[in-house]
Amino acid sequence: TPPAQFNFAGSQALLAQLKQGASADLFITADAPTMDAARTAGLVLSPQVLARNSLVVVLPSSNPGGVRTLADLARPGLKIVLAAPAVPVGSYTLQVLDKLAADAAYGPGFKAGVLANVVSQEENVRRVLTKVQLGEADAGIVYRTDARAPTAAGGTQTITILDIPPAANVTAVYYIAVLKGAVALQAASAFQTYALGPDGQAALGRFGFLPAGPTPTP
């Protein structure tokens, strides 16, 4: 079997490419809406849940913003970088902010306070991480797996993680589906089976992903 070829991009960008006729065998998205859109467009056969992920706040290790708790994120003058709302993790971030604002400990002004500190909405979650690593932003919100992965700017600056309480956190769900126009249909199905099986799930777990399993743990 020839080695698998990967095309990485934001879920929406990949969907746009597929809609325009890009040929591929397997599609993995970072949220349900994108996979639903793919299904509506008649691109995929029976999507399955691949894995889950949760969000964390990342800070430059030098902590220029002096952020110690989540509440500090709403402090005026802080520079926060988030993913753009149209990107899955960006929309998850807004959900987390909503949940926190509903919590009496943070109050209804929390979300507005945080959003007022946002200086950039990145179209790519890795770019959020890069700006935090470079120390140009005081804080960012990314996937837990992004915070743990080795990255390009890792040599310049490391980061520290600030956890989001499970009650307020959002579980991002990743979907996998074989594409209707798949040329390597067998290989794609075999890969999907492997990914959903114990070995694949264990591999994903090593990178910080949560198992696909029926009960999501934040």
Partner: protein, 262 residues
């Protein structure tokens, strides 16, 4: 006869290649909700930001670039070859790399970061960053065109004026500048166009924030995350706005924008 045909053929292929994709793009624009989208604050903000920032960038690159172009064209000094090379470097730099470089220079943790912070100046993620990014990538185009325009003015004309008793300033104002002007304006159009299309350096250095740093190219790229129709409309708006400005510029100045062509 064959030669004429051949020339026409090559020209047709070239024009076709350069304008074809544009036609393909415009053909797919959904005209139905064009009016509605034109009123969308995202579009209005991005357009306003693009127009204002590129004009500021153009003024900056002309203010700082014209003297340099003049010096490179009409003066001799040691290390001139090096200066010429340095000034053209941003052209070959991939825009994203330019963005990172600007961040490493003017960012909080950049070379000038602490100094700027000491005087209370914070550049990254601001309108100033947008202008800096645009000016950095576009100025070399203007300077190059301006240098050629200044250099093209025949030396004899300037010397004749000098023998008639004209001082340096008078020579510049009455002979050099007017003769170089078409080329300078042509360079200005190039510089402005490059600034308008600037994306990579902007998104890395200035970031992306609607109303503050989200220029049209950034808005178009982000729209790809949402839906293709919005993207097409934004692209069409950008193209037509640029076209209108170019047309207005040509009419106002009454000149061709080709450097050196009379």
């Amino acid at each position: 006869m064959i030669r004429r045909l051949g020339l026409a053929l090559v020209c047709a292929v070239t024009v076709g290649f350069l304008s074809g994709p544009l036609v393909a793009l415009l053909l797919r624009v959904p005209l139905a909700d064009l009016a509605r989208r034109l009123a969308d604050p995202i579009v209005v903000n991005a357009l306003r930001l693009s127009l204002i920032s590129t004009v500021v960038s153009l003024l900056l690159m002309m203010a700082f670039g014209t003297p340099l172009a003049y010096a490179l064209a009409r003066r001799r000094f040691p290390g001139k070859w090096l200066v010429e090379g340095l000034v053209e470097l941003p052209i070959i730099l991939p825009p994203a790399v330019a963005g990172v470089a600007l961040l490493f220079t003017f960012g909080r943790r950049g070379l000038l970061g602490p100094a700027l912070a000491a005087v209370g100046v914070d550049i990254a993620f601001s309108f100033a960053a947008v202008v800096l990014a645009q000016t950095f990538v576009a100025a070399p185009f203007y300077i190059k065109a301006a240098r050629i325009s200044f250099a093209d003015v025949p030396e004899e004309l300037l010397q004749a004026a000098a023998t008639e008793g004209a001082g340096d300033g008078q020579v510049f104002r009455h002979i050099l500048a007017p003769l170089a002007l078409p080329g300078l304006l042509g360079g200005a159009v190039l510089g402005w166009a490059r600034a308008l299309g600037e994306f990579g350096a902007t998104i890395l250095f200035a970031g992306n924030f609607p109303g503050r740093t989200q220029t049209m190219p950034l808005a178009i790229y982000l729209a790809l995350e949402t839906d293709l129709d919005t993207t097409l409309v934004l692209a069409a708006i950008l193209v037509s706005t640029s076209f209108v400005f170019l047309l207005a510029f040509k009419l106002l100045t009454g000149r061709t924008v080709d450097a050196g062509m009379a």
